[in-house]
């Protein structure tokens, strides 16, 4: 076998990337299969939003219909669950971004006593299993006699989102040259002006992706929400309880619309950061 590779050797130093030429198809095929596997449930969701099914039992393909798009809001408590999820996610994204961004900034820019323990707290909050976080908060609310509902969900979501924003912003700070800000200060800008005109614009993509991440994490969360929602129902909670009896097609339609909306926002975010970076 080795004799076959020998003729290729002399030209190897000349070509900068000789490896590209000998790709093996097995690994490519394998990767495409795994990606297909990852995308299969999404395809099922999108497809079954168009399924002309008579009942809630939505397991087989019965034919194409746009019925469920037309009657998207026909299930009142599903609609209110979706509205709850969307508004909670919006509040959480705003609050967690406001609280998490300065932490990320401080961790990324300063060396200070206690930095390590703040880092550790962020790590612990991310590494702790969601169910333990949910159960701990539930214990707090039980012991304090706080009735669970909409606002306890918001509180819980903000708590688990803060570290993600902090880390996203910190990662963005890592690539930031502190001398830029110093230059602004040397040119007579006050600390706030220097921050506003130099640091903030550079930071914004990080802040934006932190906020989007929060929105996505919040709207998607089942575990922590289920522990702290009381009688408030969010979209994932509704779907989970419906999964026992059969998920109505509207759920797939809403899932598809959220999916498409998410893609559009992500696309906009990419364009935004490209423009900023340029």
């Amino acid at each position: 076998m080795t004799t076959h590779t020998v003729p290729a050797a002399p030209e190897a130093p000349a070509a900068p990337r000789p490896r590209r030429a000998r790709r093996r198809p097995t690994l490519s095929v394998y990767t495409f299969l795994v990606l297909a596997w990852l995308l299969l449930p999404i395809a099922v969701m999108v497809l079954f939003g168009f399924n002309d099914t008579g009942s809630k039992v939505n397991f087989t393909w019965q034919g194409f219909t746009l019925n469920w798009y037309r009657h998207l809001f026909a299930i009142p408590n599903l609609t209110s669950a979706l509205v709850n999820s969307l508004t909670i996610a919006l509040i959480v994204a705003v609050v967690a971004t406001l609280l998490g961004t300065p932490i990320g900034l401080a961790l990324g820019r300063y060396r200070f006593r206690g930095r390590g323990s703040v880092d550790l707290l962020m790590f612990a909050a991310i590494a702790a299993p969601e169910i333990a976080l949910g159960a701990a908060l539930l214990s707090l609310f039980i012991v304090m006699g706080v009735p669970r509902g909409y606002w306890t969900v918001v509180i819980a979501h903000v708590a688990f989102c803060i570290p993600y924003v902090a880390i996203t912003v910190r990662a963005r700070m890592a690539g930031h040259d502190p001398t830029l800000e110093e230059a602004a200060r040397d040119l007579g800008a006050g600390p706030w002006t220097a921050f506003r005109l130099v640091t903030l614009p550079m930071l914004l993509p990080g802040v934006a992706s932190g906020a989007l991440l929060c929105f996505a994490l919040s709207i998607d969360d089942y575990v922590i929400t289920s522990f702290n929602a009381g009688r408030t129902v969010t979209f994932p909670l509704w779907v989970y309880s419906a999964s026992r009896t059969g998920v109505p097609p509207q759920v797939n339609v809403m899932g598809t619309l959220i999916f498409v909306g998410g893609l559009l926002i992500a696309g906009a975010n990419v364009l935004f950061s490209r423009r900023r970076a340029a």
């Binding site: 990852l38 449930p41 397991f59 708590a159 989970y240 899932g255």
Partner: protein, 302 residues
């Protein structure tokens, strides 16, 4: 802080630290830190305190430092506890085996289209976790999209089923947490300097040799980060077991939920949650101490 504002006057030397500047990071951290102290640290302490109380839902609970609750819940639910760790570990191993080649392919073979494939990998996250899992329910149902035709063609016997088996639950966990494995591994592989690989081939290492002795060791931090990011959520998850599993595949998350909401045995539930959290965090911190947290945090930030 007033002094900090005053020192901005022009003419003062920039290089000198303003007296208030040393406090700046603390002021920046304070609001978020307070939130986490109130709604992350305190709840954990309260949960531990609750786990050491006795009483019941009707008569109320009293702090009695009744440590045997821990022994009791572990004795009662050790099957589910062990099962959770086993399922979590199985899903983690499956994620590593399935995910590593994918990360490798994206890092070294995807060429200009890397970001496209990374994006495809993240696409599932644009679909609700519960809906994704529910979709597997549709795919794996006894007469569903997958098994239905196979049974019709006689390739499977009519009573074959996947739902409510450990395979369905571990499969669901693997599916849901695969990207958490692929991303950190990809990040680590991406960092491998192509010159090192070239050097290895120049020194007549075979492709396998280069991979085993150069690329794989260099990517191990990513694998470790991926193991953390998949093992913890997978072992503590109860959505997969709830939707794809049955009574024989109950995981500890399902038990904790039942204890809190159906049995209203708060001390027991709190004890069980703390055992799970303690076990997982202990594992995480030992692991992180040995291997560093930066990769995990970096992967989490992506």
């Amino acid at each position: 802080m007033e002094r900090a504002v005053r020192t901005d006057l022009p003419g003062l030397k920039r290089r000198r630290r303003r007296p208030g500047a040393a406090l700046a990071p603390y002021w920046m951290i304070l609001p978020g830190w307070l939130w986490l102290a109130a709604f992350f640290v305190t709840p954990v302490i309260v949960m531990v305190s609750l786990s050491l109380q006795t009483g019941d839902f009707i008569d109320g609970f009293r702090q009695t430092f009744h440590f045997s609750t821990y022994a009791d819940v572990v004795r009662t639910y050790h099957v589910q506890l062990v099962r959770s760790l086993v399922y979590g570990a199985a899903a983690t191993v499956a994620c590593a085996l399935i995910g590593y080649p994918v990360a490798y392919w994206i890092a070294f073979r995807a060429g200009r289209h890397k970001s496209v494939f990374l994006f495809l990998l993240l696409l599932p996250f644009f679909v609700s976790f519960v809906i994704r899992t529910q979709s597997w329910n549709v795919v794996l149902a006894d007469n569903g999209v997958l098994l239905g035709p196979l049974k019709d063609w006689g390739l499977l016997s009519a009573d074959f089923h996947l739902l409510a088996t450990p395979y369905a639950v571990i499969g669901g966990l693997t599916y849901n947490f695969l990207p958490f494995m692929v991303l950190p591994v990809y990040v680590a592989l991406e960092r491998v300097d192509p010159k090192v690989v070239e050097a290895s081939t120049d020194l007549y290492a075979s492709r396998t040799g280069t991979f085993l002795r150069v690329v794989l060791p260099l990517s191990l931090p990513g694998v470790f980060a991926g193991v953390l990011l998949t093992f913890v959520p997978a072992s503590a998850d109860y959505v997969n077991a709830g939707i794809l599993g049955g009574p024989s595949t109950t995981m500890i998350g399902n038990i904790i939920q039942t204890e809190y909401f159906t049995n209203l045995d708060y001390p027991g539930a709190a004890a069980l949650s703390f055992v799970l959290m303690g076990a997982l965090l202990l594992a995480v911190f030992t692991y992180a101490r040995a291997l560093g947290t930066d990769d995990v945090l970096e992967a989490a930030a992506r």
